[in-house]
């Protein structure tokens, strides 16, 4: 009898890129739901706009590049990029913000570099940073947590850029806790005074602490299902927490507590979902620790001394730059060799 030959190993694989992307998307559900609960319809609308744009841009680019379109779209990586970007956007930002961000993320940051697996930078964060430096004002349109604007107001804000008659943007939006801390500290206020404001919740920014807890839960599930590895999130949170802890101990009046840093802004989203993007992060176990630590430390530095209230996007992109070098110098010791790097 004649048979077909295949290369070993022959045991069927029970893992796939589709499965990984699907699980990451699933793990984002609690966080996204929590944000919707706090900030209203803007969150799902942004998600929809960004996802559709990302998928459309991916399909267009794949067709241009002569790659199989449907098979590749099904891997879910473009969808995930769109979703991650949307979750970073202000819920009341105009629609073209999500469109421009997704287009840049998919077309420039991903497909022009060769598509999935070849992008040196995290596409979602590249898109976000382009928006942040180009349209800083639009990215501040966060509603006050808990004061959810109704659907009509949200739609009006997103698609016309103005609140419906009778309202003002200022009445709808509110500076985020991170923004407030930066601004007020810059004006000479102390954290003690700030903490009495309604902006603060139990241990971090009001509302934001719940968002971060939800992302943390999703992230822990990803760790449990081995979709991501522990090194990057743990090192990033450790880096952020350690920097915040040391400076908070030195001067609690002007440096926010580690708890505030870990549970405000996009800390948990960044640690478990953004910094862990495998394509643009380090791949060696030790390298991943360095990468995470770097993201954490740079995030704290930008938050504390930089020009932006949140620093995760910049921190991730900066560490993306360093990833190949870190990987090169953190090769594990091969079995039977004396030193870490074989000669």
């Amino acid at each position: 009898m004649e048979f077909t030959t295949w290369s070993s190993p022959h045991l069927p694989v029970d893992n796939s890129v589709e499965r990984i992307m699907r699980q990451v998307l699933l793990a984002l559900v609690p966080g996204a739901a929590c944000m919707t609960w706090l900030f209203g319809w803007g969150v799902p609308i942004n998600l929809l706009i960004a996802a559709v744009t990302a998928l459309g841009a991916e399909a267009f680019m794949l067709a241009l590049r002569g790659r199989p379109v449907l098979v590749t779209l099904r891997d879910g990586s473009a969808l995930l990029t769109g979703v991650l970007l949307a979750l970073a956007l202000a819920p009341l930002a105009p629609w073209w913000i999500a469109v421009i961000g997704s287009l840049f993320a998919i077309v420039v940051a991903k497909q022009l570099y060769g598509g999935l697996g070849y992008n040196p930078f995290n596409p979602a964060m590249a898109g976000y940073v382009v928006l942040l430096v180009s349209f800083p004002l639009e990215l501040t349109l966060w509603p006050a947590p808990g004061h959810v604007p109704d659907l009509q107001t949200t739609l009006s804000m997103i698609f016309t850029g103005t609140p419906p008659t009778g309202g003002t943007i200022d009445a709808l939006t509110m500076a985020t806790p991170m923004d407030t801390v930066r601004m007020q500290l810059g004006l000479g206020a102390t954290l003690g005074e700030l903490h009495r404001q309604p902006l603060f919740g139990y241990f971090a920014g009001f509302g934001w602490e719940w968002v971060n807890l939800a992302y943390l839960a999703g992230g822990l599930w990803l760790l449990r299902t081995r979709v991501i590895q522990w090194q990057i999130p743990v090192a990033m949170l450790a880096g952020l927490g350690a920097m915040a802890g040391v400076f908070h101990l030195v001067n609690p009046g002007i440096y926010a507590s580690p708890l505030f840093h870990l549970f405000s802004g996009a800390a948990m989203l960044g640690a478990f979902f953004i910094a862990t993007d495998p394509v643009s992060a380090c791949t060696t176990p030790l390298g991943r620790l360095c990468f995470g630590l770097g993201v954490g430390i740079i995030t704290w530095i930008i938050r504390t001394w930089g020009g932006y209230p949140e620093g995760i996007a910049f921190a991730v992109l900066l560490m993306n730059l360093a990833a190949p070098t870190i990987d090169y110098y953190t090769r594990p010791r091969v079995f039977g060799h004396r030193d870490r790097t074989p000669q």
Binding site: E2, T5, S8, T284, D327, P342
Partner: protein, 558 residues
């Protein structure tokens, strides 16, 4: 070059209480039960046996028989060539019908020289078989010679000649008998230990006598309780040589020599080195049993236990198979195929190779035959781009960075691939098994290794050619130099001769002078143009004139 570890080697605990970890590995769901449910059964006698001349690592053996010759069970058919080689014996009696290239169980699928025997069904033993040895009385050299002459090679899968593996016996601290199955699904070592524990133990005792190790341990997996029981029962009658039986966690690829050594002793075999470098010799349980048969029963290696399994065969089982039996015969003995077979594998599901025909013989290293339908092993999905997720790094037992290796292997950057430890890859397949992009990683590594070997071969050839060329240039230079020297010598000789000539000339001149003076004194004869008459003078002038005119006139055609 083998590297020596900078850290001192961990001492070998005589009780083997501790289990060390190696990086990575996989807990694979075993399919061993299917074959282990039944006792070992004989595969029976096929009509024809095909015995490849190369069933081991090293030089192929040299055929000693020709077509038409009658051979007997245990007769030497092909002798070992060199130290790393093994002889081949007739598995039963019959007639040699051909010595020709046939398909053999090898990943390449290329045919190789084989001896084909038509069996006569009488199974007549060879009359001048060597006597059985009482191993307790025999000296080590006799035992080693017997092992070599019996054609014993490592039966765990690699097929390294056992005699050669026993060559370095100085300062061996541990004789490690490997009863851990190499891969899931394979059950031949398990069956052997369960049913023929006594043979294994006797074989181990012979090996102990040869190696004289400080300690000796038989290792098996923690999911082989029956085998462990059988071994312990076999040792219960008396264990003067202190053989220990221990189990190790069932993590693939613990059956690998280097991984097993690490798990039991915490020592790492140096990269490109051998276990003997760190005072350890490893032998497979099947090899130990074969040693027992060769020494105490005077039976060379002519059969082995083969696991026949997979959802493509009706009755999965372990079989006692004569070497040279066609795989199709084994399948028949296991009840035949169940349906459409998607793959036929020789070896395990992780490192075995798929073959395109079942007309292949069982060789010394064939431990398992797996026939599967597309249901249990569907065609792999198309490969996608690597997303650098690092799952491969997590599971690599050699602690390599498989995704980096893949990157360099794919781009043909052989230097970087070697720098990242390409040759430390044991091709266990863990990385490819977990790859979410379904990249056939091992295939890339094999290709890169083969390319490098080929390049090195070419380089060696080029080196030889260069050396020859340089030798030729040197020779030409030398010849030229010698010629120049010879010429110079000759010139000098001629110059010397020239000086002699001058002297002779002077002598001749002097002699002529003397004659002339003598003639002058005597008066010499006048020349014939002197004292001419006027008539003669005119005639001469007329002749001269004519001659001059003729020279001036243009030459007329004849």
């Amino acid at each position: 070059m083998a590297e020596t570890s900078r850290r001192p080697l961990p001492a070998i605990d005589p009780d083997f209480t501790r289990r060390y970890h190696f990086h990575g590995g996989l807990k694979l769901s075993g399919c061993r039960e299917a074959a282990s449910a039944r006792p070992i059964r004989p595969a029976g006698l096929p009509d024809r046996l095909v015995l490849p001349l190369a069933q081991h690592i090293g030089e192929p053996s040299e055929c000693l028989v020709g077509p038409g010759e009658t051979v007997y069970r245990g007769q030497l058919l092909a002798r070992a060539l060199g130290r790393i080689s093994a002889p081949v014996h007739a598995s039963t009696s019959g007639t040699v019908v051909a010595v020709e290239a046939r398909p053999v169980p090898h990943p390449s699928g290329l045919p190789a020289p084989c001896i084909v025997i038509e069996t006569d069904g009488r199974d007549t033993p060879v009359p001048d078989a060597p006597p059985a040895l009482d191993y307790l009385q025999s000296d080590v050299d006799t035992l080693l010679t017997r092992i070599r002459d019996a054609g014993i090679v490592g039966l765990g899968g690699a097929g390294f000649p056992t005699r050669a593996k026993l060559a370095r016996r100085d300062a061996i601290e541990l004789l490690l008998i490997n009863g851990v199955e190499c891969e899931p699904c394979i059950a031949c070592d398990d069956a052997l230990q369960r049913e023929r524990a006594q043979e294994v133990i006797e074989g181990v005792r012979i090996l102990q006598r040869i190696v004289q190790p400080a300690a000796c341990v038989i290792a098996l997996e923690d999911n082989m309780p029956k085998a462990e029981q059988a071994l312990r029962a076999a040792l219960a009658g008396g264990n003067e040589t202190g053989i220990r039986v221990v189990n190790v966690p069932t993590v693939y690829p613990t059956g690998g020599e280097r991984q097993l050594i690490r798990v039991l002793t915490g020592r790492e075999v140096p990269s490109q080195g051998f276990p003997a470098d760190i005072g350890i010799i490893v032998q497979n349980v099947g090899t130990a049993a074969a040693v027992y048969h060769a020494v105490a029963r005077s039976r060379p290696l002519i059969s082995r236990i083969v696991t026949v399994t997979g959802d493509g065969v009706r009755d999965a089982c372990n079989m006692d198979v004569l070497l040279g039996t066609p795989v199709s015969h084994l399948i028949g003995a296991a009840g035949g195929y169940t349906g459409h077979i998607a793959r036929l594998l020789i070896g395990g599901p992780m490192m075995g190779y798929a073959v395109n025909t079942d007309a292949l013989p069982v060789s010394k290293t064939t431990n398992c035959v797996i026939a599967v339908t597309a249901r249990s092993m569907p065609a792999p999905p198309p490969a996608k781009s690597c997303i650098r997720c690092g799952r491969c790094t997590e599971v690599c037992p050699a602690n390599l960075l498989p995704q980096q290796l893949y990157w360099y292997a794919r781009s043909g950057n052989q230097d970087a691939a070697q720098d990242f430890g390409l040759f430390d890859c044991i091709e266990c397949g863990c990385c490819a098994h977990v790859c979410p992009s379904h990249i056939p990683l091992v295939q890339y590594y094999r290709h890169a290794k083969t390319t490098i070997w080929e390049q090195e071969k070419q380089k060696k050839k080029a080196d030889i050619a260069r050396a020859r060329h340089e030798a030729r240039l040197a020779r030409l230079e030398r010849i030229k130099h010698e010629r120049e020297e010879k010429l110079a010598r000759k010139k000098r000789a001629v110059a010397d001769q020239g000086a002699g000539d001058a002297a002779r000339q002077t002598a001749i001149q002097a002699a002529l002078e003397r004659v002339k003076t003598k003639k002058d004194q005597n008066g010499t004869a006048p020349r014939n143009t002197e004292d001419l008459t006027p008539e003669q003078q005119r005639q001469i002038e007329a002749v001269d004139r004519r001659r001059r005119e003729r020279a001036r006139r243009p030459r007329e055609p004849d």
